[in-house]
Amino acid sequence: MRGPALSSLALSAAEEDGFQPPTISETHLPEIFPWMAEWGTGFGKNMLMAVLAVILIWWLFSAAIRKQALVPSRGQFLAEGAYGFVRNTIGRDILGDKHFKPWIPLLFTVFFFVLFNNLFGAIPFLQMPTFSHAGPAYAMAGIIWITWVALGFKLYGAKFMKLMTVPSGVPKPLLIILTPLEFLSNFVIRPLTHSLRLMAVMLAGHIIVMLCGSGAEFLITQAEGAFNTGLGVAILLGSVPLYFLELIMMVLQAFVFALLTAIYIQGSIEADAH
């Protein structure tokens, strides 16, 4: 999985004569193209995976729909099913029949961009969800935040701010407390939770993978005794169901992220409804 990093880790553990767990810094892998470092921090693995996701989604869906056959091939059928899932379950069901059409591309892109980047964490050698780093998650949440805020101001003008921060049917004195709270919750905390939820789940999954891998390696190769070796094997076996749990979390987080995007946009479209 993470051969060089793991062996170096194991070596250091052996030198210190004890188990040294992987640290958060370990999630920042060495730069793939060190010569790009002078632009900033260099072109890392996560950047490569983000670009890879763009190319993969573009290629897979374009290839699947190229023929536009009325009687679809298996690939086209699967792609249409995936597209239809985002279109109908996330788009139409949340935004309603009247408004969902123009938002399909955005929801489609959000869902599959997050999904593909998450699934990279389950693929050997990549073994790293792009969104386990805060940067990409902030970027996505930021773009979506700009989208729904701009949409709200476009639809309702300056009144949108009042609609989003002043709850109706509340006694006047309470508004002094509630208005700042609503402002915080809608405009500040919302994008933070949107991004951090994704990032934290992906990072946690990745840390578990690292911990399992390095722990099992340490127990099997470094620690003395049959018990420790057995424990290491048990951890490896236990990581198999964990892998599938991670897989579920990856799909679920992509779904939640896209669903929240749809809900935020719906909130802007119908800001005057509540």
């Binding site: 040294q20 921090t41 792609a79 279109r87 591309p105 980047n117 805060a134 940067g135 970027a139």
Partner: protein, 189 residues
């Protein structure tokens, strides 16, 4: 042994320079730009194709149903037309047969009438001929009688005009002859 050390190490890691909440701006930029590029691609090429395929399929299915219904209606109309034509041709054939029969009957009656007329005409003609023949015969007889009478008269005159009794006998004989002649003539007729 491990638990304590793992927890301290994790705390150390969290306190270290790699704060997971602190973003790498370049990663954020690459992910954000990548997302926007993908969004552009999806808006421009992918989503329209899916929607169009979807629409085409709906149209094809609805069109297929409509077409089938049209074809069905057309077939029904065609069938009705054929049946009507068949019935028409049947009535036409029956009418023709009837006409032919009537014509044949008419021809037969006409022929019969014609034959009867012809027969009547021939009979009429024969009658007329006979009548004419008889008239001619009577006429010629009358002239003959005249001539004979004249001849007889001359004979009588020539023989003796004085003998009344004798001339009377001659006349009687003549008339008797004439009667006998006429009777034989009538019997012959």
């Amino acid at each position: 042994m491990g638990e304590h050390m793992i927890s301290t190490a994790l705390v150390q890691a969290a306190e270290g320079d790699a704060n997971p909440l602190f973003p790498n701006p370049w990663e954020a930029a690459v992910a954000g730009i990548g997302f926007l590029v993908l969004l552009f691609i999806v808006i421009k090429w992918i989503a329209p194709k899916f929607e169009q395929t979807y629409q085409n399929r709906i149209e094809a299915i609805e069109g297929g149903i409509n077409q089938a219904e049209e074809a069905k209606a057309e077939a029904a109309a065609l069938k009705a037309e054929y049946e009507k034509q068949l019935a028409d041709s049947r009535t036409a054939a029956a009418a023709l047969r009837e006409e032919a029969r009537a014509e044949a009957a008419q021809i037969v009656t006409e022929a019969q009438e014609k034959a009867a007329a012809e027969g009547a005409r021939i009979r009429e003609q024969a009658h007329a001929q006979i009548e004419a023949d008889r008239a001619a015969a009577a006429a010629s007889l009358r002239t003959d009688v005249g001539a004979l009478a004249t001849e007889l008269a001359s004979k009588i005159v020539g023989e003796a005009l004085d003998d009344d009794a004798r001339s009377q006998r001659v006349i009687d004989r003549f008339l008797a002859d004439l009667d006998a002649e006429q009777q034989t003539q009538g019997a012959a007729q």
